[in-house]
Symmetry: C6
Subunit: 263 residues, 6 copies
């Protein structure tokens, strides 16, 4: 019977641990209330899929600046769901695939999910997956059309699916008509307060406890947010400089990143 | 003779129950006079096709915001027609098909309909079927051209056809020249009054009878309509929150949806 | 000899009665002086091709709003010509053909016409034939180029040809450079006066003689013309309503059509 | 030797009488001084190619409104040249050819011309040959590039070539970069004076001698020129009308053409 | 060894006399100081390639109006260089080649040049080679990309290369990003002074010595320059006229050319 | 085991000395503090990749005017890194490759790098690699998408990668969405001060020690910077002139380059 068939193919469906290894290589840092609130929202979607019979499909867009931690978060959430079927569709794994190969790979992953009672699919970097470029604009319409359909298609009776997609170009998502495919959007912020800055710096263990606060005071300007990826990079760059104090060098790195953003 | 031939192939023509299962999984809610008026109009088209010999083809466009219930309504109407040939052309079933495969599938369904005395074809999400994207804009011209012809082509003598198409991008329909193919348009509204809101909330059975009115009072603002799909989603999301009252949480969900619409 | 060869293939050239059956299924209604004047012009082109040796090719564009009766008129004229070679090139018959298949089909029909002393070719819905869409704009350049040449190409010595093309997008015809290919344009009007309205309503036999005038008085506003196709549709819709008088319902249908035109 | 080889292939090079038959089926009408001046210019180019050794290639563009007589004139000039190699490249003969087939046909005709001491090539309707449409704009770049080169390529030593091209879209010719390929442009005018009008009407023999002047007086307005093709068409149309005097009818036809031009 | 190998293939590298025959069929006219200065600059580039070890690649763009003499000059310079490897890449020789055939032909010529100690490559009509049209704009990106690379690629150690490219659309060259590929631009002027005009007229030997000055006085207006190609054409045209003095006719031809330029 | 496997394929991974030969053929000139600062930054990136475990991928964009020395610097830095795997992806080596051949070549080089503990990849002229042209704009989306992914993809555990890309069209880099792929940008300046000018002139050894200062004084205007490539070219051109002093000629060359930049 189908139930048994489902069981048999389970190994093929099992979580793909390998795939998640590359995200959050330094571990996830809880940098404050904002971060916690996002995690709570994420968990709430997982609960909704588990519990509600009226919304068998919940699709959420995680959007934010490049490097703000979207992929890390989506990946962490998916893993924490403990759903029997968890998969990531990532452009990284599809380099060099033709449009139609990508399309059928994506379709396959959704169709497989329809055979599991509870599934979670991460669609990482959705604009990259559809080969989007702002100038032109150019993109793969066949991949887009496939996503436009799959992101709205109700799973078969008794099957439930959570889709977590990430994007750093929300205006492209909207212009491509993908906006309406998501039940809601979860905005992932950058580091915007001195407290958050301190928390990250402290967790990275580069500064002694006494210096952490001074670093935040001197290096961070809360009118110019920075992503967690840039902050880690800035600290590592600062550490390479031979001359000057670490705080002085970090300050310089931070200024460089802010300039780069303006330009 | 042809009459007998027609009879023989009837099973192949029979209603395709499977296809309609996925819509309106929670049952259709009659949310008030507006909804009833739409149902009446729909039934009137079915009668016209049955009775009038001067209009053997009646094609109607159901248009409205994403999630307002177009597909559910079209599907319900088609099933209620009791016509011997009822079919749905849905992008969901055509994922991964080539343009020309889609074109011949569509043509086939229309041609089959010409062999039944009374037919009803639902064309769901017509913009998706022609692979339309607003930026570019891009679409499949061969599928569009096929529809432009089939939506206007009079069935052979003695055959009658009702076409119910749905779309949430009426300006695309018009720009693509599809507007003139429909005899008329049936606009499907969102939830716009506190009464409609109450009716839906009550039917979903989440709130006790006493709370329904308060929920409408506190959570719904009639200047910002919401679709029935969003309302169901908002209620289910509100139910996941551990803290806060259900009404408080629903209020928050409603605000989120309104923000998302602005943005 | 060629004369005999011509005779032999005559059956293949004979009028294609089947093809014309689908137009004007309710019979042609003479709705007044404007309609008669158009018929006269049409006949005059037939006479010119028959009689003048200086204009062996006369190509005419019938243009007007969708549903105003262009195809019905072109078809009626072509049949009434009694020319030995009469053919219709209609997009309906070419659904699913490739561009090059369409091109050679069109070319074949023109070339066959060059073997008959007197020919009439109807090119129905010329913008559809070239797969035109206003957005983009997109169209089949190879079909367009073929038409641009064939519509101007003088038939061989002793052969004469009348081409009747129809279009409801005159600005596309002009922009595509097709305008200069026609010797003249015959504009087909909509129903614009109460008299024309009464005439159609009366011929359709829905109202008793006494009501016809009242119907025109109450339902038709001569500042908002309506096509004959819309008028027939409006009457048939009005007849489906259970409640309300027929005139009241027709009035409502007419308003609906006018709104649809504005929108 | 080469001289003898050249002689042997001469028949293949001979004038292609067939090809010229379709133009000017009613004979060429000399409608006055303007027409004569154009003919003189045309002959002067023939002389220049024959006589000058410094300009072995003379390419001329005949431009004017559709139907003004460009093809008739180019064809007449080419035939009158009595050059051993005379050929017409006409879109009419290339219907249904692929781009590359057209390109090699064109190239072949130019290359053949290089084997004759004196050659004349007519390129009729050059915008049609390159499949030009103003919207888009679209055209065959490979055919265009071939012409851009061949129209400027000096023939081999001792060979001389006159190219007569016609076009009714001079702005397209310029935008496509073809303008610089021609040594000069010969503008072909429409009928612009009552005298020219009278001359054509008289030559066509439709009016008695006494009526010709009255016809010009009453039917022609020198502020709205008409092409010779339109004039012939207007006269033939006028002759079909049963009622009204011939002059009255011609007047009406002329007004129709002027309206069509405005519209 | 390589030295001997180089020697052996030398014949294949030898100057291609045939190729240069078609330019400057009337011989090069030195029309004054401006012309001499250009020749000096040209020679200076040849010397630089021969002598300097720091600039093994010198690429120069000759730009000017169509017919000003760019190809004649480039060809003359290349021939005068006496470099062991001299080649012309001309669109004339590549009519009908596919993009990829052109690309490999071009690449082949550059690669062959890398085997000769001193080479000169003429790239004639560079915009034609890349199949450029201003409207669209359209061009062959693969040919363009090949040139963008080859025009900047330093030859292997010990090899030196002079590239002389010609173009009459400098704005296209710049927009296509080709501008930065050239070390410098050599602008080729038109005939701009009465002295230059006289010099050319005199060298062509059409006017007697006494008339030359009068011709310049009467026919040339130094506010409207003319290219040397147009001047030769104007003189040859003037000579064909039977009536009128030669000077009078030349004056008329000159006016025609100026009008054509405005239009 | 893998370690040994890695060792075995080392030769295939070894530095590709050949590839680097063509840059900086005259040796690298240290033209002052600005240049030194850039070199320091470059070395700091090498150290960061070697030392930091938190940033296993550091990708840097070297941007500046054409000829300012980007490729020379990137090449010098890569060679100085002494990393076991060093490769250059240069458009020069990919002339005539198809898009998909380029894509797999690029992917191959990145994948090979993932097998070495420390790697450095130079992507020279990144806009050329993706076949970018500003008009259109046109580019290879498949190559772009490949780079967008590879430039952000974290190497496998324990592998570290430095990417040095060069570009002279920073606005294209940004518009194509490549900007966010780089951790930072290293702007390479032109020669902007008289001191830098003197330094280069002196190192080239063309002027005697006494003249160097005068040359800078007379030939260089610090409001109009010049790239080092142009400066070398200007000096070599000046040396070819027979007449005039070397300084006078250099002054003229410099003016020419400045004009060219304006135009
Ligand atoms: N909460 C966190 N704690 C620690 N490190 C984090 C956290 N979030 C992100 N990072 C680190 O920041 C880097 C970028 O994170 P991630 O790739 O998830 O961002 P992203 O928003 O998906 O970026 P992109 O838009 O480029 O895909 C990663 O190296 C990750 O390890
Ligand atoms: N009248 C109704 N009563 C109860 N549920 C409804 C009703 N109409 C729609 N729904 C529910 O709302 C959701 C959306 O409905 P449906 O798919 O028909 O909307 P739609 O307008 O076709 O949306 P889309 O534009 O996305 O295709 C479905 O889950 C359906 O079950
Ligand atoms: N004179 C007429 N009398 C009666 N019925 C008519 C008349 N003209 C048109 N009709 C009816 O109106 C409908 C539309 O006519 P027809 O198809 O000829 O219009 P059309 O202008 O070609 O429309 P389209 O632009 O959509 O091709 C047909 O059903 C036809 O039967
Ligand atoms: N001088 C003339 N005398 C008599 N008839 C003429 C004359 N010139 C043209 N015609 C007639 O006018 C018609 C159009 O002429 P022609 O085809 O040469 O015009 P055209 O300018 O080439 O038109 P198009 O732009 O459509 O190609 C032809 O039927 C031809 O017989
Ligand atoms: N200095 C000169 N003396 C004599 N004749 C010349 C001279 N320069 C050019 N010509 C003549 O002018 C004509 C055009 O010259 P050429 O083809 O070199 O011009 P061009 O600038 O390359 O033109 P295009 O832009 O069309 O390629 C040729 O016929 C050539 O013989
Ligand atoms: N510091 C330097 N010292 C000496 N010569 C240099 C220096 N930098 C660059 N050059 C020389 O300048 C020329 C251009 O340098 P390079 O190719 O590195 O510039 P680029 O910025 O990559 O130019 P492009 O944008 O055209 O690729 C080369 O010939 C090189 O030898
Ligand atoms: Mg990410
Ligand atoms: Mg729907
Ligand atoms: Mg029609
Ligand atoms: Mg013509
Ligand atoms: Mg040239
Ligand atoms: Mg470089």
């Amino acid at each position: 019977d189908f139930e048994r068939a489902l069981k048999d193919i389970k190994p093929a469906f099992g979580q793909n641990d390998e795939q998640f290894r590359m995200y959050a290589i330094n571990g996830i840092i809880n940098y404050g209330p904002t971060f916690e609130k996002i995690q709570l929202s994420g968990n709430s979607f997982i609960q909704q899929v588990k519990n509600s019979s009226r919304t068998p499909l919940v699709s959420v867009l995680l959007s934010g600046k490049p490097g703000c931690g979207k992929s890390s978060l989506a990946s962490t959430l998916a893993q924490s769901s403990d759903f029997p079927y968890v998969r990531t569709i990532s452009p990284d794994d599809l380099v060099g695939f033709t449009e139609s190969a990508k399309t059928s790979k994506i379709t396959k992953i959704f169709e497989d999910s329809y055979r599991s009672p509870l599934s979670c699919i991460v669609i990482d970097d959705i604009e990259r997956l559809i080969e989007f470029v702002p100038i032109g604009p150019r993109f793969s319409n066949s991949i887009l059309q496939t996503l436009l359909i799959l992101l709205k298609k109700t799973p078969p009776k008794g099957r439930k699916l959570l889709v977590l997609a990430t994007s750093s170009v929300p205006e492209a998502v909207r212009d491509l008509g993908l906006g309406n495919c998501f039940a809601t959007t979860l905005p992932i912020p950058s580091i915007t307060t001195k407290d958050e800055f301190s928390k990250v710096v402290q967790e990275l263990g580069v500064f002694g406890p006494s210096e952490v606060k001074r670093a935040a005071e001197e290096c961070f300007n809360d009118r110019t947010p920075i992503t967690i990826k840039q902050l880690i990079m800035a600290i590592e760059m600062a550490r390479q400089e031979d001359s000057g104090s670490l705080i002085q060098n970090l300050k310089q790195s931070m200024v460089d990143f802010q300039l780069r953003d303006l330009y």
